[in-house]
């Protein structure tokens, strides 16, 4: 008998008055798996996390955690009795508590005495290399430090499932990478499942075992990062997961999708360079020819000026099953 998934959501519907935020979403997350929820603002990522956490009551459908139904055909289990840890987008640190007391808070709620809870909290802060911030209050911490304290608080809960609600949205780029590495390392170390909501395709594809694409409260596609990148179900899913061009297939087989790395400059097909972007380790060339406009990514600095006539080769393409308009 297969093990119960850590989290299972089935036919979930959430409505705020007349607005439906989630329409029949179903997905599951296995133990120690990281699932990224990727979607634009308003796609329902946060609502899905809130329904799982117990902050909103679904209008229909069920939420199961470790095989136990926590919302659906029963009285909703309150958030404090769900085996979850949440890291919030805006940190949600309590302004009147120090970092140490914030991280000790979950242990205190388990009935652990203050000295023991503080000792556990200090150990977690040390693991995250922020023990020196123990006595500081949120107003005395930078954004990155605040988010690490938020992560420490979630770790202190020792949950079976972590929910990360766009935790890097307010972090500077240079802090973001460090925080993400920390987050994944700690979550893997704990052997827990995680659901990571983000609108950043690079983050989702680089971090998750599987990626779920959401749009307007509906689940568009779910699969491994490679699957959702290489084989998007429609143009929206394609653009959500990275740059994509639509051109006429060279063999006359209709419209196909081409990622920037799926073509290279030099070859039999003719085109004119319309724009060039230097991006550090590589350069992007927007070329236009009889088949249409497409983006070609080449290693190193730009090789052709705007207006140059170039040849190019199509390495691979993906015939989009969905609408391309």
């Amino acid at each position: 008998m297969p093990a119960e998934p850590a989290l299972e959501v089935r036919d979930l519907v959430v409505a705020y008055g007349r607005t439906t935020a989630l329409c029949g979403v179903s997905l599951s997350v296995g133990t120690a798996e990281v699932l990224a929820l990727l979607g634009p603002s308003g796609s329902g990522k946060s609502t899905l996390l809130q329904a799982v956490a117990g902050f909103v009551v679904p209008s229909a459908g069920t939420v199961r955690l470790g095989g136990t139904t926590v919302a659906g055909n029963c009285r909703p289990v309150p958030p404090e009795r769900r085996d979850l840890g949440v890291v919030f987008q805006n940190y949600a640190l309590w302004p009147h508590l120090s970092a140490l007391d914030t991280v000790a808070y979950p242990a205190r709620r388990r009935g652990v005495g203050r000295p023991q809870a503080r000792s556990e909290a200090r150990a977690i802060l040390e693991r995250l290399r922020i023990a020196h911030l123990a006595d500081r209050k949120p107003a005395e911490l930078s954004g990155g430090e605040q988010q690490r304290v938020g992560l420490a608080r979630a770790l202190a809960r020792r949950p079976a499932v972590y929910l990360f609600d766009e935790p890097t949205a307010h972090l500077d780029t240079h802090v973001r990478g460090v925080f993400l590495a920390e987050l994944v390392a700690r979550q893997r170390e704990a052997g827990a499942a995680a659901v990571y909501a983000t609108h950043d395709a690079e983050e989702a594809l680089g971090l998750a075992d599987r990626v779920a694409l959401l749009s307007e409260g509906r689940l568009l596609q779910i699969g491994t990062p490679q699957q959702v990148y290489d084989e998007p179900v429609d143009l929206f899913a394609a653009r959500l997961t990275g740059p994509a061009s639509l051109i006429d297939a060279p063999d006359g087989g209709g419209t196909v999708l081409v990622r920037p790395g799926w073509a290279r400059l030099g070859g039999p097909l003719e085109a004119e360079v319309r724009a060039v972007w230097f991006r550090g380790p590589h350069s992007d060339h927007l070329v236009a020819g009889p088949l249409g406009e497409l983006l070609v990514r080449e290693p190193g600095p730009p090789r052709h000026p705007v207006g140059a006539r170039v040849g190019w080769t199509l390495l691979r393409s993906w015939p989009l099953p969905g609408p391309t308009g």
Binding site: Y16, A53, G54, F55, V56, V57, R75, P76, P78, P79, E80, R82, L84, G85, V86, F88, N90, A92, L93, W94, P95, H96, Y105, P106, R109, R110, G150, R153, A156, R157, H170
Partner: protein, 544 residues
């Protein structure tokens, strides 16, 4: 929009604010102190020892403390239930608990006598009456009902500004139940707002007049404000005048002694604001049975405190005589016919005219302060204006009478000056708040697009400010319309306002006419209040 705009208009605004502030508040208070010193000869203990003045002062302080101790917890509970739970029909309840704000103080007090006193509504129908409604306990209870919306509003603003829902959610997913979250997170975060509400309720109760006058004076329960009223309205000898002046001064000293330390302790803690990117969130869902129980208790409280008294008042105004059952067979419009005299209509006209003029001038003055406080000198002035909010109306009235009575005694102009002095902060706060929320980049963009200062303000700033301007005007207009504390001390023959006519009618013991006048006054305040609130909301929605 701190830092926005050029220095010239702000310097002009500072000057335009300082002069009226000196004339309306500083000079009259200076004269009050001067006269109290000269006439009383500095013998404060002698004055206080006379004829129960010490009792009045003690009653006032004990009453203010008692009202604070009950109204603030009630306001906290209302704020938590209405802002932090998924109570069905929250918008309805949120509007309904504010009902005491649009019912004049005097009318609320009088309606309680019609509902619960002997020969009142419950006595006539059920044989149940409460003699204590006219006495200290009744005064306390009605003041609690009257002050609870203010406490609720201050705590609700504190909840919105300091206790964003994600902080509570973080506690819930950390293992805290709803009660633990309330104690360890919500109440801790909102404590500065609760303390501020307590200070505000305490100080405003010190200066309250209408309810103690209607419910306390007939039972011989006096406070400082009712004593000042008695001294100036009934007394007339120099000793009464000295008493009134001394009490007015004492009142402001007690208020200042409360506000000054509270402001220095709470001020910085209250300025911590919600992050700009914080979003409104739905409350954590609770149990249906708890929500139903909350709705029942809330409905019961509102029925007991507001609906039943107002219904009793309305029935009194149409019932033929005291003590007869208020059934349709005994209904008549005689009381309304009786009060619709030329004198009443003239008073109504004066009230409306005064309120319109006062509200319009106050919006201009409030706007000037809001602009002036963009610079350091103006900020000090703005703080002084905010302090006028807690200046007791009786004190202001006596001070203005001393300062300008020689020329303006008994005139509408003196009442107008009193309204301007007392309500200035009411106009200033909403406008200043709206200016703070106005992104400076919008004005910069207008200037960078070729607009001068005035054109930029007219074309870019005025529209988003419109709801605040209308809201400020509305608050001033409605407050002036039912103001009675200062009007009752400053009116003369031919300058009575409608609220004064109602107060005088009640003191003459004319129950039917007083009830009819109260209904008219309430409708006058409530109908435009609701309409303008609706218009202001629409403007805000469109501006947003």
């Amino acid at each position: 929009m701190r830092g926005g705009g050029s220095a010239l208009p702000r310097a002009g605004a500072t000057a335009a604010v300082v002069v009226p502030l000196a004339a309306l508040v500083a000079f009259p208070l200076f004269r009050l102190v001067q006269v109290a010193w000269q006439e009383g000869g500095g013998d404060l203990s002698g004055v206080l020892g006379a004829d129960g003045l010490g009792t009045a002062l003690r009653n006032t302080v004990v009453l203010a403390a008692g009202v604070t101790l009950a109204a603030v917890p009630l306001g906290v509970v209302l704020a938590l239930v209405l802002r932090r739970s998924d109570l069905p029909g929250r918008a309805f309840w949120q509007a309904t608990v504010l009902a005491p704000v649009v019912v004049p103080d005097f009318v609320l007090g009088y309606s309680w006598t019609q509902a619960y006193a002997r020969a009142g509504f419950t006595d006539t129908l059920l044989g149940l009456s409460w003699a204590g409604v006219q006495g200290p306990l009744g005064v306390w209870l009605v003041l609690v009902v009257n002050a609870s919306p203010l406490a609720y509003l201050v705590v609700a603003v504190g909840l919105a500004a300091r206790a964003e829902p994600d902080l509570e959610r973080a506690a819930r997913v950390s293992g805290a139940g709803s009660a633990t979250t309330l104690v360890t997170i919500t109440l801790r975060l909102v404590f500065p707002a609760v303390a501020a509400a307590a200070v505000l309720v305490f100080v405003l109760t010190l200066g309250t007049f209408a309810i103690p006058q209607v419910l306390g004076a007939p039972a011989g329960f006096s406070t400082v404000t009712t004593r000042i009223y008695a001294d100036l309205s009934i007394g007339g000898d120099p000793a009464s005048f000295v008493e009134a002046v001394t009490l007015a001064l004492l009142l402001v000293l007690v208020a200042a002694a409360t506000v000054a330390p509270a402001d220095s302790i709470l001020g910085p803690r209250l300025r911590a604001a919600r992050p700009a990117d914080a979003q409104a969130a739905h409350p954590v869902p609770g149990r249906q049975t708890v929500r139903r129980a909350e709705a029942v208790v809330l409905g019961g409280y509102l029925a007991f405190s507001m609906c039943l008294p107002l219904a009793a008042l309305a029935l009194s105004s149409v019932t033929r005589a005291l003590g007869v059952p208020p059934t349709p067979a005994n209904w008549t419009l005689d009381s309304f016919r009786g009060v619709l005299t030329v004198r009443t209509l003239e008073a109504l006209g004066r009230s409306l005219g005064l309120s319109v003029v006062a509200a319009t001038l106050l919006v201009v003055l409030g706007g000037l302060v809001a602009v002036a406080e963009r610079r350091r000198a103006g900020r000090a002035t703005a703080s002084l204006i905010t302090l006028t909010l807690v200046l007791p109306g009786s004190t202001l009235a006596v001070a203005l009478l001393i300062a300008y009575g020689r020329w303006l005694s008994g005139s509408l102009a003196l009442i107008l000056l009193a309204y301007l002095a007392k309500l200035w902060a009411f106009a200033h706060r909403p406008i200043a708040g709206a200016l703070d929320r106005l992104p400076p980049a919008e004005l910069y963009a207008a200037r960078a697009s070729g607009a001068g200062v005035l054109t930029a303000v007219r074309t870019v700033a005025l529209r988003p400010l419109a709801p605040a301007l209308l809201g400020a005007w509305l608050v001033c207009f409605l407050t002036a319309l039912h103001e009675v504390t200062m009007s009752s001390l400053l009116y003369g023959p031919g300058s009575e306002t409608l609220a004064v006519i109602v107060l005088n009618s009640s003191e003459l013991g004319r129950i039917g006419p007083t009830a009819a006048l109260s209904v008219v006054l309430t409708l006058l305040v409530a109908v435009p209040g609701i309409l303008l609130w609706w218009a202001s909301n629409r403007l805000r929605t469109r501006a947003g």
